[in-house]
Symmetry: C2
Subunit: 387 residues, 2 copies
């Protein structure tokens, strides 16, 4: 395969390129558009090419599945052929990609024949059943579920953070690579450059998480509920057991015996695996807020040695995939709408922690698109490392 190296132009598509159902979402994400900065190594410019890999999308009808297609298009990912896979419920539907129509096929044990790369986002049980099966047939799987993240030997990759952990694994060789949890990715995009510079000993994290983390149905319910509440109606509660519109609540993942929910423990455990250390202490409080598709996180960092604010800003401003919005004079800092539909993780409120006597504390506020960098973009970036 010959790759043509070109400068990136990873712009988000304009609203007129979105499907009609996406148009409504676009309205919910209305914002002052900021120019999108290309995330890290966006060097592959090919699209459909005879010497590209055959790529399968598993769970193509879901929010992340659709985003896989959008990101593959934006990044002009090279491919020879595409397979659109989903459950029986979605089989037979039509999907457009790169100017071609595809028919969604029902996922089964024969689906991966000849597939070099499979991007999975169809839930943990599907990944557990079909991931190893695909890998055994020579498909290199990039899995967005939590099924294999903590499995020994399965690389857990944020391309800007630990690309080396992917080893020599390539497309078509067979294997599984895990995509970290969205909240972990977004936190570590900002925290890792600081960690690499001076070391982070402890993090106290509070999240402000978007509906998209619970899937398209949760986004739809948030929109529906909001309309209902504005009309004075009782809100529909099918996805979550209580009102989400104009409300927020502790993350809905199951609670462990230590009082931390699974989302919080993912942040704790995945960070240690990605950073390859047990010597980082983390406590997290994960909260869902009535936002559509970008997470925010408040990070309080205890550093191993002192770090000035100006040095922290310098480190973060040169970090791949990170953009600073940190304008104290105009009170302009990252918001979820800044991050929505963009590749980068946005960082601001960069300041010395005044609750510490030493100079080893730093507070940050970060926002990142949950569907994009928190899921589909990170997975496609991993796939690029396999080429």
């Amino acid at each position: 395969m010959q790759l043509q190296l070109q400068p990136c132009s990873c712009q988000s598509p304009s609203p007129r390129h979105l499907t009609s159902s996406s148009l409504r979402s676009a309205a919910l994400e209305q914002r002052r558009r900021r120019p999108s900065r290309p995330a890290n190594k966006c060097v592959v410019r090919a699209g459909k090419t005879a010497d590209g890999p055959t790529v399968a999308i598993v769970g193509v009808s879901g929010a992340v599945g659709k985003e896989f297609l959008r990101v593959l298009t934006e990044r002009n990912f090279p491919y020879k052929d595409m397979k659109m896979l989903a459950s029986a419920r979605s089989a037979g539907k039509q999907v457009d990609f790169d100017g071609q129509h595809y028919t969604v096929e029902e996922l089964n044990e024969q689906s991966f024949k000849g597939v070099d790369i499979a991007l999975f986002s169809a839930g943990g049980s599907i990944s557990k059943k079909f991931g190893p099966l695909a890998a055994d047939q020579g498909t290199t799987v990039v899995d967005n579920s939590s099924a294999f993240r903590m499995t020994e030997g399965v690389p857990l990759i944020i391309p800007e953070v630990n690309p080396e952990d992917i080893g020599s694994l390539k497309a078509g060789q067979g294997g599984i690579i895990a995509n970290p949890n969205c909240s972990t990715i977004i936190a570590l995009m900002a925290a890792t450059p600081i960690h690499k510079a001076v070391g982070i000993k402890r993090m106290v994290i509070s999240t402000y998480q978007a509906a998209s983390g619970a899937g398209q149905a949760a986004m739809d319910e948030l929109e529906l509920q909001t309309r209902e509440v504005l009309e004075g109606k009782q809100p529909t509660t099918q996805i979550f057991p209580f009102q989400y519109a104009f409300n927020l609540f502790s993350h809905n993942s199951p609670m462990g015996p230590n009082g931390y929910n699974e989302e919080e423990m993912k942040m704790v455990k995945e960070t240690k695996k990605i950073w390859k250390t047990e010597d980082v202490a983390i406590t997290a409080t994960c909260i869902r807020v009535p936002i559509m598709r970008a997470h925010a996180e408040s990070l309080n960092l205890e550093l191993a040695s002192d770090l000035s604010e100006s040095k922290a800003k310098e480190i973060l401003s040169s970090a791949a995939g990170v953009s600073l919005i940190d304008d104290r004079e105009h009170n302009r800092f990252p918001t979820p709408l800044d991050a929505s539909n963009n590749d980068d993780v946005y960082v601001g409120r960069i300041r010395r922690d005044i609750s510490r006597q030493d100079e080893c504390g730093l507070d940050l506020f970060v926002c990142g698109d949950q569907i994009k960098k928190g899921a589909a973009l990170n997975a496609v970036q991993i796939a690029e490392l396999l080429l």
Copy 2:
């Protein structure tokens, strides 16, 4: 004055008792109603009574001003006469209270003649101009602005926390008492019982603050913007310079040279004054979320000595003005809608901080009504201490 001591029944009014403009707000705060628990010493049952104080409401047309009237009614606050004061813009309007019609008078230097208690919520500059003037005329002022909070000699009171700091000051004696910032009140309602039991050395706080903290106009704009965004229109941005609907942003108060905004520094400074110690370290990140009237806060506490989860729950469940919602099995914890229109501060996610090797860390999640306990209720409770 003879006070009749009766058991409390401080229920929120049902929606049918609200004015038509409040009905719309009630829809925005729709929720599964929980029984309201009476907050602390609710023993005064009198209403209009010849031997009660004359009470003035300064800023009666604002969100907190209206809430003063509602809380005075709910608590059957004893009064001989009422004066409704506001700016020239609102003068002449009619206000109903306790079954009587009142005409709003323009606030001026003669307004406080014969007034025993004045509840101020008309902004800092009005408080600075008229607070001392009223106090000089023998009016005891309870001020909801930040004008005098940090002034030496001015008590800064949360009745459940430091009622003793009010000293012997009574209605009609002249003086100023400050109502703390809403975020401070809500945090300290939960943190103080823990602090009194074992001592708190450091707090890392992230807030999820409602629109109401920026006044009725901000609540109205959030509602308007939400409708506009759902209709695909560009949102109106008169109160805040960017979209608030389906978005969140760093608190809009001015930023200091240390990178903390005024809201955050209020939490730091007011806590030290209320707890009468410099030995508590605090860092806060204050964020506005698209919620109508109740704040949430994530609190990470470093304790002076160890404290078990069960003991922490025991302490909090017996604390005045605090209710626990902490059901791990059913993933049911406090939400802003639980707190909206209720007196108590709701606490949950009570858990040992796993990022600490010692047993001296505790995480909490709290929700409290910003207009009620964060402002009007706390002020009226202070006024009760003056009787």
